[in-house]
């Protein structure tokens, strides 16, 4: 049998060598109590202040590691040996159970209970065993305290590192998704949460526009279709503060943190431990809230960046794209059509007699007509089509994947809608018509400037032949 001093030395060493792994340290030390002090069973139960219970952390017996009892509530249950030991702050020998319960206390803070017994061999605790466990208990107090503190500090360091990394990313990139991915990935990979999800809202509609998530295995996913969870997420958005999704019967396994910038909600972050079932604390909630605050800045910056970018390509009067953007997109769409062997059509539209209209009704009325016609055009084209203000009253519309017949149908719809629209200015009514020229890639040309020129040519052919009409370039050449 080793000397007590030797046992003390080994116990301290085990705690020190496994400072980051309390379970391993306890296992090794409890094994010493079985092997060298001769107990049948040794267990450490730690207090969970949140749940007010004592929870078995490690149990070792002469038969190896064994199934232990469940949680012990810390209520003053009459005669409960755990509670008795803790209440009086000193060991409690329970002869009926052949055991002794030693409270683990560090600087007046209750950590838990060390329980040793001879329950299998039904031997009473000997005086030597009692003396040794009394001597060893302080080493457990220090070891467990240090280990828990170490884990706590390590976790704090990881959290701070995560915050710093996200902060650096915000300062060095304008790419929102890169930062969001980094943040979500840190929550799972570094901080050990099971999963993290972000639901971003569309500014205009307030509906979810994107869901970014990282799962338990670290796989990142971006989804546009969030219809299945839309109502659930919208219900979360009613909350202003971070909160656990626990209600009456759930543990704190899901945290929902609203993301808002200057009071305006831009999304919601959901972090869960639904697989590991590790309950979260208020500290988790506070920390996640800090992350959410940082992300709100990223989302806002990105929104502003998109807004500036949008303004630089938008015509302020009509809300359509501008001349520069039209040419950029036309190049892109021609390349795409070329790559996929697809058609592309171009509509060139001009308001008839617009100068006369301006002279009669005034320039303010002219502006109103332009923005109304722009709205009519937007209503009659698809989301993939690109309408741009090409010149004063001239509009160019790119129709990807559309042949000349398809373009004619769309053009006819626009012409008809404009003609039927009731333009009223005070007591007066104006009839507005449009002339439209059409070209098709690659049939009419494969060169950008040629396409535009030929569309213009077709448009002026209509202008010269009575206006309020449509003509495809290939057709007007024949006429």
């Amino acid at each position: 049998m080793p000397e007590l001093s030797e046992l003390l030395h080994h116990t301290g060493n085990n705690f020190q060598n496994h400072i980051g792994d309390l379970d391993a340290a306890l296992r090794k030390n409890l094994e010493l109590l079985i092997r060298d002090v001769g107990f049948d069973r040794a267990a450490v139960l730690l207090i969970d202040d949140k749940d007010h219970v004592l929870r078995p952390r490690q149990i070792v017996t002469i038969h190896g590691e064994m199934e232990g009892e469940g949680e012990t509530p810390l209520t003053d249950k009459k005669g409960d040996p755990f509670v008795t030991a803790l209440k009086h702050g000193k060991e409690f020998v329970n002869r009926g159970e052949y055991g002794v319960y030693v409270p683990l206390i560090y600087n007046d803070a209750r950590l838990g209970v060390l329980r040793v017994d001879n329950v299998f061999t039904r031997r009473q605790i000997t005086a030597e065993q009692l003396a040794e466990i009394r001597e060893l208990a302080p080493a457990y107090n220090v070891g467990i305290h240090n280990s828990l503190e170490h884990l706590h500090f390590r976790h704090q360091v990881t959290k701070l590192t995560t915050l710093t990394r996200i902060g650096t990313a915000i300062a060095t990139t304008l790419k929102m998704n890169e930062v969001l991915e980094l943040a979500l990935s840190s929550l799972v990979k570094d901080l050990g949460y099971d999963r993290a999800q972000l639901f971003l809202l569309d500014e205009a509609t307030g509906k979810i526009r994107e869901n970014l998530s990282i799962d338990f295995r670290g796989f990142f996913r971006s989804q546009d279709d969030t219809s299945s969870v839309a109502s659930f997420i919208e219900s979360l958005l009613c909350e202003d503060k971070p909160a656990f999704l626990s209600r009456k019967f759930s543990a704190n396994l899901v945290a929902a943190i609203p993301i808002a910038f200057k009071g305006k909600k831009t999304g919601v972050m959901i972090v869960d431990n639904l697989f590991t079932r590790q309950t979260m604390t208020d500290y988790d909630l506070s920390f996640l809230n800090i992350i959410a605050d940082q992300l709100s800045t990223v989302i806002e910056n990105s929104r502003l960046f998109e807004q500036v970018e949008r303004l630089s390509i938008t015509d302020s009067l009509t809300g359509m794209f501008n001349h520069r953007y039209f040419y950029e997109r036309l190049s892109e769409e021609i390349s795409r059509a070329n790559r996929f062997g697809a058609n592309l059509s171009l509509i060139m539209l001009d308001l008839d007699h617009f100068k006369v209209f301006n002279d009669t009704f005034g320039h303010q009325a002219g502006d109103t007509v332009l923005s109304t016609v722009s709205a009519i055009i937007q209503e009659n084209i698809r989301s993939i089509d690109v309408a741009s203000r090409y010149g004063g009253e001239e509009v160019a519309i790119i129709l990807p994947g559309t042949d000349i017949e398809g373009a004619r149908i769309i053009a006819e719809r626009i012409r008809d809608s404009v003609r039927k629209h009731d333009f009223r200015f005070g007591q007066k009514t104006a009839n507005i018509t449009v002339s439209i020229g059409l070209v098709c890639y690659p049939v009419d040309s494969t060169i950008k400037s040629e396409l535009v020129r030929k569309a213009d040519h077709a448009l002026y052919w209509v202008k010269n032949h009575g206006r309020d009409g449509i003509c495809a370039y290939s057709r007007c050449e024949d006429l």
Binding site: P56, F249, L253, L274, F275
Partner: protein
Amino acid sequence: MTTTLKLWVMPNAGFESQRLIDRELTFFSEKNPKIKVECDILSWSQAWPRIIQAVKDKTGPDVIQVGTTWIGTLGYLGAIQNLDTRKINRAGFISTFYDICCCFGHLWALPWFCEGRVLYYRSDLLEKAGLSRTDLDTWDRFRLACAEVSRLRVGGKAVTPFSFSCQKEQALTQDIAAWIWANGGSFLSKDGKHAAVTHFESVQGIKYFLDLIAQKFIGRQSLDQSTGEVAENFFLNDSSAFLVTSSWPLQVYLNASSKNYVGKKNAAHFGVVPIPAGPAGRFNFAGGSALAVTSFSAEHEKAWKLVEFLTGRQSMARYCASIDMLPARSDLPVVLNAPDQICKVFSDSINHNGRGFPTHPLWGSIEQVVLNGFVQTLSEYRHNGFNQSGFFRNLEEMNLEIENILSVFGE
């Protein structure tokens, strides 16, 4: 060169756990001299966090024992290997358990041993009340039988018909499930996307069970005891006539040759029957354990050999007989330290009446909500009596919380 495999199992045979698994490993090593197996016995409460940590660290044992309700989660997380390409004789396993090991279209583990819930009864008390086994066959007859037993007095003391623990233990959900299923109810919708606790059939199933408490057919004292205490009282005292549990008491209370044997007082006066059939049929919770190869095992093939061996006919027959659990193979007879009639009832409990919980990746969290909900409902019930609005409020809350979990899961 010798390869060392790590195996994690739970204490399947109480104090005998290490010895009995080591015996099987010795047989394995005789057949595979170049494979050494080190086995750790983990407590059930420690096993889940240890396995999950191993999954996160991507390092740990090569083979693990998994509770059948864990398979969905571990499979979904990719913690265990799918066994689709392995050569397995599916017909060799009891289909209920083989199916439980299959989730999301893949096989993740091989059934090792299983358990089915049955109704234990005290034959002497039944006889005294002028009843027979057949009087326990259906819900209606069982209720009448409880009424008859409640009129008995033994040694001047009244007998409580039914002992049932309502403490916060997983067994509570498993035991109440039988009454929900027997009424055609369920916990989740068929597609696993919605909660079904408030469905009419589920509600009425729970209500039938609560009525047993209201009519004082379930002893108030037992409600406050743990499942272990309830069983101990059933087998060692005369306090009640019926108890629902699995096969473990056979070893502890009835098999004098078992090292876990603690008493024999009523050994001659008990029998088992299937849990009473409800309007939708007869069901009982069937669970058990399976063996799986971890996805982080560096020795897939050797680990698979170990799984094949332990789930093989010889080893399973030997191991199950020694731990008083039911073998999960269809080509093995149910051999328990009990008369044939008892073996037959247990055999039916796994082959015909057995049902497992839904194999949803988040079942563990869902089960916790169900458990807490039941504990709260039963607590309110026994302290304040039946209150319809309170009862429905609890069920609706459970339903909503399960819906929330399913929504957060988002798949």
